[in-house]
């Protein structure tokens, strides 16, 4: 409730203020006057007031005033009636001294309230003699040329360069490339030159510049201005913002205009001539001086410089960060500020390679004013991700040159992370995508990257081949082989001798054992007899076949014997004898042979072996 009341009160206050503002009290006067010249100082009030308090006018002579006048008008719009009235007080003043004077605000009372007017600055310059003599009071504000036409005693006809000229004024002549310049074409007319109008106008071509015109009213407004110590009526014909596109000294071609000036025809007045003066309109062609602009190149430009010169801010936005494949996305970059906005190249964006990208769309909103070209340019990049995945568009950089600091400024957006999911719109394409293979596209060509692995550094020109070590490896390995060979050969030789000895010895040992067996046979000691026979046989075989006794068994012995070319019957007989001995020893009941038979068999087999195995 209290809040509502407060709001209400604020509204009421605002209403009061706006009501109070409806009373306007304005002081008007020329900006420049010549010394001794009469001029008008006017006060306008839109309501009736009393008790006008003039400011201090001691620097001027008050010749006349105040003369008051009143006007009122009633307007009916859509049945709504508004009444406006104005009261004016006019004083005629004359300047006494040269200099710049400021007139403090005047005050007036309206309905018991005091209102103050604005203050004025008036510059007083040295007067021209003919002007001082003129009876005509200088018009306030913009009526100059019209007033001048009415002057009777103006020494017209001398339309010289002092009286009428055009000037192309630029706000700076030393600029960097791309920096904006405000060029104003001004027409200067001396007060006493009657101007009727313009004819052909030839605008400067502004070659070497990119231009943007500032709107000026088609009706030329004249203001008073001091130039080279003289007062002129000055009209602005054209205002243009220039952006230099090349470096060096650029010449702005002269501006040409043909003015129509009324001149009184001076001739010897005869008696029958016209009583009145004759006037004729003459064409006066005026040409401005060429202007030279010195354009410096930008200091060493960064690689990604976009050509932007001025003071800018930069921002980027994307319409969505997650989308489906084959769905269009838009990235928008906005550059706003003051400078050569229309000349900025679209900043390069690095899209992931599989994205289909289109040319950026550029749109600008710019306003040309006395302060220069300002507004914003936006670039819209349309692209279509073709495959699903997570992608990143790296931060987009915008490099501009700031002419006020003479520095390149880099502004960048943040990086955009995109999540693309698989879209389902493949079915209406009618093509089975998985069957269409693509070649790997080569995007660029460059040398391969440096080798990072640990390299083996060697003294220049050195190599293992041909060194002492290289040869010594060969020599040493040969020597080692030779030594091994000799030693091994010797060993083989020795072991060969050993088998030979054993082979030769075998029969002797066997006979010795059999002898012992025959001893047992005589004494009829069956147990000992068979044992010694079998021992003799095994011992003989071991020596003869070079097989250690521990490794020897019947199969091995048989295989070895057969291998050495023994007849199978002999081997079978040997086996039979061994069997008989073992039967006789361990199962005497099952054994049917006699000790004599066994003894003879063993002796016979050994005899055969002795003959055949060398």
């Amino acid at each position: 409730m209290i809040k509502k009341l407060k709001v209400l009160m604020i509204f009421m206050l605002v209403g009061l203020v706006s009501l109070a503002d409806s009373t306007q009290f304005v002081m008007e006067g020329p900006e420049v006057v010549a010394m001794g010249e009469q001029f008008r100082l006017g006060f306008t009030l839109n309501e009736s007031g009393t008790d006008l308090q003039l400011p201090d006018l001691s620097n001027f002579d008050v010749l006349m005033g105040p003369s008051t006048s009143q006007s009122s008008s009633i307007q009916i719009i859509n049945g709504k009636t508004t009444q406006t009235s104005s009261f004016s007080y006019i004083f005629i003043l004359r300047a006494k001294k040269e200099g710049k004077f400021s007139i403090r605000p005047a005050s007036i009372k309206v309905g018991g309230k005091t209102y103050e007017s604005n203050s004025l600055d008036i510059q007083v310059v040295k007067g021209q003699p003919q002007q001082a003599a003129s009876q005509q009071g200088g018009g306030a504000g913009g009526g100059g040329p019209q007033n001048a036409q009415q002057q009777d005693d103006t020494p017209s006809g001398n339309v010289s360069k002092d009286n009428l000229f055009v000037r192309v004024a630029v706000d700076k002549t030393n600029v960097s490339k791309g920096e904006q310049i405000l060029a104003t074409v001004k027409l200067y007319i001396s007060q006493n030159v009657p101007l009727n109008g313009f004819d052909q106008v030839k605008l400067p071509s502004y070659e070497g510049f990119w231009t943007k015109d500032i709107d000026v009213p088609t009706q030329v407004n004249f203001t008073r201005e001091v130039y080279n110590g003289k007062i002129y009526q000055v009209g602005v014909l054209k205002k243009t913002i220039l952006f230099p596109q090349q470096t060096g000294n650029i010449r702005i071609d002269p501006f040409e205009i043909t003015c129509l000036v009324r001149q009184r025809v001076r001739k010897q007045q005869g008696f029958f001539d016209d009583f009145f003066d004759n006037y004729q309109v003459v064409k006066a062609k005026v040409v401005s001086d060429p202007v030279i602009i010195n354009v410096k190149d930008l200091p060493n430009q960064p690689a990604n410089f976009s050509g932007a010169v001025g003071n800018f801010s930069f921002s980027g936005s994307i319409d969505k960060t997650s989308a489906k494949s084959n769905e269009a996305m838009t990235l928008k970059l906005v550059i706003s500020g003051s400078g050569n906005l229309n000349l900025i190249n679209p900043p390069k964006i690095e899209l992931p390679q599989d994205f289909e990208a289109y040319e950026p769309k550029t749109s600008d909103k710019t306003i040309a004013s006395d302060k220069g070209l300002s507004g914003s340019v936006s670039f819209e990049y349309l692209f279509i991700p073709r495959y699903a995945g997570n992608f990143t568009i790296p931060a987009i950089k915008f490099v501009s040159f700031n002419p006020s600091t003479h520095q390149f400024e880099t502004k960048s957006t943040e990086a955009f992370n995109l999540t693309i999911s698989k879209g389902s719109d493949d079915k209406n394409s009618g093509v089975v995508n998985s069957y269409s293979k693509e070649d790997v596209k080569m995007i660029g060509k460059d040398i391969r990257y440096i080798k990072q692995n640990k390299s083996v550094l060697k003294p220049k020109g050195s190599s293992f081949y041909g060194t002492f070590e290289f040869y010594s490896v060969f020599i040493l390995s040969t020597i080692a082989f030779a030594v091994f060979y000799v030693l091994n050969r010797k060993k083989i030789e020795e072991s060969k001798n050993l088998t030979l000895i054993r082979n030769k010895r075998a029969n002797k040992v066997a006979l010795k054992r059999l002898k012992a067996a025959s001893g047992f046979l005589k004494n009829n000691k069956a147990e000992q007899f068979y044992e010694s026979v079998i021992k003799a046989l095994w011992g003989y075989l071991s020596d003869k076949l070079s097989i250690p006794l521990a490794d020897l068994n019947r199969e091995k012995a048989a295989a070895s014997l057969l291998e050495k070319g023994m007849a199978p019957e002999v081997v079978t007989e040997l086996m039979k004898i061994i069997d008989d001995c073992e039967f006789a020893r361990y199962a005497p009941a099952a054994f049917s042979g006699t000790m004599n038979e066994v003894y003879d068999g063993a002796a016979k087999v050994m005899g055969i072996f002795e003959k055949q195995i060398k």
Partner: protein
């Protein structure tokens, strides 16, 4: 005595080599940060110390390429290729750099057997061939031992033939090593270093102008006379030019 001095020198070199390994790391880091000029200085410092490796030449070539000094990069790639004739990366980068060379010369094709033979010889470095030679010789001796002391004829047959193969391998790899070494030491290839050189018919300023070659071209030095060298292009043309306009690989 001489042996001892050599050993001491070898040890000193090893110490130096260890110190240079750090320098390589540093130069590589400069390259990674795209400070190519610093990388070039780093690699050159290593080479100044009298030691080398194909990697250093390759990386130096890359750094020169990145600073657009294509002729120097070709020179260094060629030097790397001498040390590592079969490296694919070096071959690739050399081809890329050679695209910057003005002159295009049709190389005379050799006989295919000779080309194959050279390809085999170039497939390994000197030291690799030397090691192969030593290894196969040692295996050969082992086989010989088996052959002598084998009991069965089977083993004897196998070891005999493998032994024959191994001794052949030893001899060939030895000769390949020798060939590679001589290619390294006695090769006569050079790169043209001056932007443009007029080749004369005789070793004097007054010689008839034969043809003009440009920097980056690989030529072979065939003769020498004072300040002048006779060169032979890959297409077989010959002529004389001043020594200062070329640099030996």
């Amino acid at each position: 005595m001489k042996r001892i001095i050599n050993t001491i020198l070898a040890i000193l070199f090893t110490v130096a080599v260890f110190a240079q390994a750090d320098l390589i790391q540093k130069a590589n880091e400069h390259y990674t940060k795209e400070e190519f000029q610093k990388a070039i200085d780093g690699y050159n410092q290593i080479l100044m110390a009298g030691i080398e490796s194909p990697e250093v030449y390759f990386n130096l070539g890359n750094a020169y390429y990145k600073t657009k000094q294509y002729t120097l990069s070709i020179l260094n790639y060629e030097r790397a290729k001498l040390l590592a004739p079969d490296d694919e990366d070096i071959e690739f980068n050399l081809q890329v750099a050679n695209q910057k060379v003005v002159d295009s010369i049709q190389e005379l094709p050799g006989i295919f057997i000779v080309r194959w033979w050279n390809a085999i010889v170039n497939s390994q470095t000197t030291d690799t061939w030397a090691s192969i030679s030593i290894f196969s010789f040692v295996v050969f001796l082992t086989m010989l031992g088996f052959y002598f002391f084998a009991k069965t004829s089977e083993v004897k047959r196998i070891t005999f033939w493998s032994g024959c193969f191994l001794i052949m391998l030893t001899i060939f790899s030895w000769s390949f090593a020798a060939k590679q070494k001589s290619r390294l030491v006695n090769h006569s290839f050079a790169i043209v270093m001056q932007p443009t050189v007029t080749v004369k018919s005789s070793p004097s300023e007054n010689g008839t102008k034969l043809f003009v070659i440009h920097e980056g071209l690989k030529v072979r030095i065939t003769d020498k006379l004072g300040d002048w060298v006779e060169i032979r292009l890959a297409d077989g043309n010959k002529g004389w030019l001043l020594t200062e306009s070329i640099e030996r690989i």
